[in-house]
């Protein structure tokens, strides 16, 4: 027994890596089809969009880069699907330099689907790109959105787009949905757009940063939060369109279980080996 736990205590980390590989690949090959329970935070975020009227316009802020795309890109697609179906117009902006490209990828991916083939750039959605200094950008949009983004991501004049007609500042948009991975994003919109301009702010973020926004949820400054891949899978379920997040949750479930198993095994081996010493 002692020999076994000594081996466990000195387990080569490559064995752990190998176990992780199996834990990642196995659920992708054989989906577990686990039930998805909707958490209140995701439901609140969904409700913000659900309550909008056709023709309402929202700011969809892409505040992440490809590193966070496994979690946030499926989330973005689920939110965009919801907006398309509700005929809510999307004004995509970004506080991260790589954000506009992530928006472009997401719009292009949905444009390939038959359901949304009729959606037009400049009418149903627009990609305004990124401007430096995120605090100044969020603050500046409170005064003039076309002033901060005079052209879209591809160089066309912002005010020429049908979607931008009558849009001046936050008062002309129904809500802000920020997809956030770091400091620029939900926190900035809450402290400026919500606190100073009373605009409804909701959003989604990586699981690791979600707890950062809980104080804003409790103070009702943030109307709902889609948290990580789990939140994205819940949103996919709410829009009845399972995608990458739902598939990814199977992997996450098995990996979490494996981590717990390894932690318990390590503690058990330490306790037993320690006692025998």
């Amino acid at each position: 027994m002692k020999a076994f736990f000594t081996i466990i205590n000195n387990l080569d980390r490559r064995i752990i890596f190998l176990a992780m590989v199996v834990a990642v690949i196995w659920p992708l090959v054989t989906p577990l089809a686990l039930p998805v329970q909707i958490t209140p935070n995701t439901q609140s975020s969904y409700d913000v969009i659900e309550k909008l009227n056709p023709g309402d316009r929202i700011i969809l802020s892409f505040d992440y880069d490809p590193a966070s795309s496994p979690e946030l890109q499926p989330m973005a697609k689920a939110v965009m699907t919801h907006c398309y179906r509700k005929d809510v117009k999307m004004i995509a902006v970004a506080l991260w330099p790589q954000g506009p490209m992530m928006a472009k990828k997401a719009f292009e991916s949905l444009a390939g689907e038959a359901e949304f083939s009729g959606k037009k750039y400049g009418v149903d959605f627009v990609n305004l790109g990124v401007q430096p200094s995120y605090v100044a950008v969020v603050k500046g949009m409170g005064d003039s959105i076309p002033g901060v983004f005079p052209t879209d991501f591809f160089g066309s004049k912002t005010t020429d787009f049908a979607i931008m007609k009558g849009i001046k500042n936050y008062r002309d948009v129904a809500a802000i949905f920020s997809l956030t991975t770091g400091s620029a994003g939900i926190g900035t919109y809450v402290t400026i757009a919500n606190a100073q301009y009373k605009t409804t702010v909701t959003g989604g973020c990586t699981a690791i940063s979600s707890l950062e926004y809980y104080p804003y949820l409790q103070s009702k400054q943030l109307s709902g939060l889609v948290e990580g891949l789990k939140g994205a899978s819940e949103y996919e379920r709410l829009v009845k369109k399972p995608g990458l997040a739902t598939a990814g949750m199977d992997v996450q479930a098995v990996v979490h279980m494996m981590l717990i198993f390894f932690i318990l095994l390590a503690n058990l081996s330490q306790a037993i080996a320690g006692k025998q010493k």
């Binding site: 387990l11 980390r13 752990i16 890596f17 176990a19 992780m20 990642v24 577990l32 686990l34 039930p35 998805v36 329970q37 958490t39 880069d65 490809p66 590193a67 966070s68 795309s69 496994p70 506009p100 490209m101 472009k104 990828k105 401007q131 430096p132 200094s133 100044a136 950008v137 603050k139 500046g140 409170g142 005064d143 901060v148 991501f153 591809f154 160089g155 100073q196 699981a207 707890l211 809980y214 104080p215 409790q218 990580g228 789990k230 949750m249 996450q252 479930a253 098995v254 990996v255 979490h256 279980m257 494996m258 981590l259 717990i260 390894f262 932690i263 390590a266 503690n267 330490q270 306790a271």
Partner: protein, 248 residues
């Protein structure tokens, strides 16, 4: 587009030359080097703070906001240019002096110049730029992030031990939150006798997050904000001058 890009390149070359000239002048004048930047910093800082005490309906609010927003964006753009110059010169030095792992600097500069070339030539809609972003940048960044899962697993196995009361609490909370974050956790939890039927592990995880973690987060948020205010005052009053550079 090509003509515009050409003008842009010429503009930046002239700008860099002007920056070098200004830099040389600043080095020799104590007034320009110390007193004027301090005065600017104080003046601008006070104006920005003052804005928060003016009602948004007041025209002065809009004036200050317009001015500050535009200037912050202009200065940020210059900071980006300085960052790019620093990146290129640093890596050129690394290559020319054959520092350790200089080969990586070659790859970095190659990637930088190729991406910049296609970006300036075709804009964001170019095929080559799209290819670089979608098939090189995205997979590489996603891979770097994904590798974390393997290191976290290995680190958790080695370091997550119940060595003390505090460590045991942390371990228990972590296991509950990990179980609560996935549906499989709820399924397995329901098989635990007695407590499995009483409540769901995801509710328990939510409770931990909402009560304990949020309390901690709020304390950090308040503490950091107070610290931020104190640090800002030190900068405005010229007590903290490290942003002038190492000579200060």
């Amino acid at each position: 587009m090509a003509l515009f890009n050409g003008f842009l390149i010429v503009f930046f070359i002239v700008l860099f030359a002007a920056l070098i000239f200004v830099g040389q002048t600043l080095r020799t004048s104590q007034f320009l080097r110390r007193k004027l930047p301090l005065a600017f910093c104080f003046f601008m800082g006070v104006i920005i703070i003052f804005q928060f005490f003016i009602p948004p309906e007041n025209p002065l609010y809009k004036e200050i906001e317009d001015l500050s927003t535009k200037w912050i964006q202009i200065i940020s753009s210059f900071a980006l240019v300085i960052g790019l110059i620093s990146l290129v010169t640093m890596n050129f030095n690394k290559i020319s002096r054959k520092y350790e792992d200089w080969q990586y600097a070659v790859v970095l500069l190659l990637g930088f110049f190729v991406t910049t070339f296609y970006g300036l030539r075709d804009g964001f809609e170019g095929k080559e730029f799209d290819f670089i972003f979608n098939y090189m940048y995205v997979p590489m960044q996603s891979t770097m992030f994904s590798i974390l899962a393997f290191f976290v697993a290995s680190a958790a196995f080695r370091a997550f031990r119940a060595r003390s009361r505090e460590a045991t609490l942390l371990l228990t909370a972590a296991v509950i939150v990990m179980l609560g974050r996935v549906e499989l956790g709820s399924v397995l939890w329901s098989y635990i006798p007695f407590i499995g039927n009483y409540f769901d592990v995801s509710d328990l995880a939510q409770w931990i997050n909402k009560v304990f973690t949020t309390a901690g987060q709020r304390a950090i948020l308040l503490g950091a904000s107070l610290g931020y205010i104190a640090a800002s005052f030190k900068i405005l009053l010229g007590i903290e001058r490290s942003y002038f550079g190492s000579e200060e």
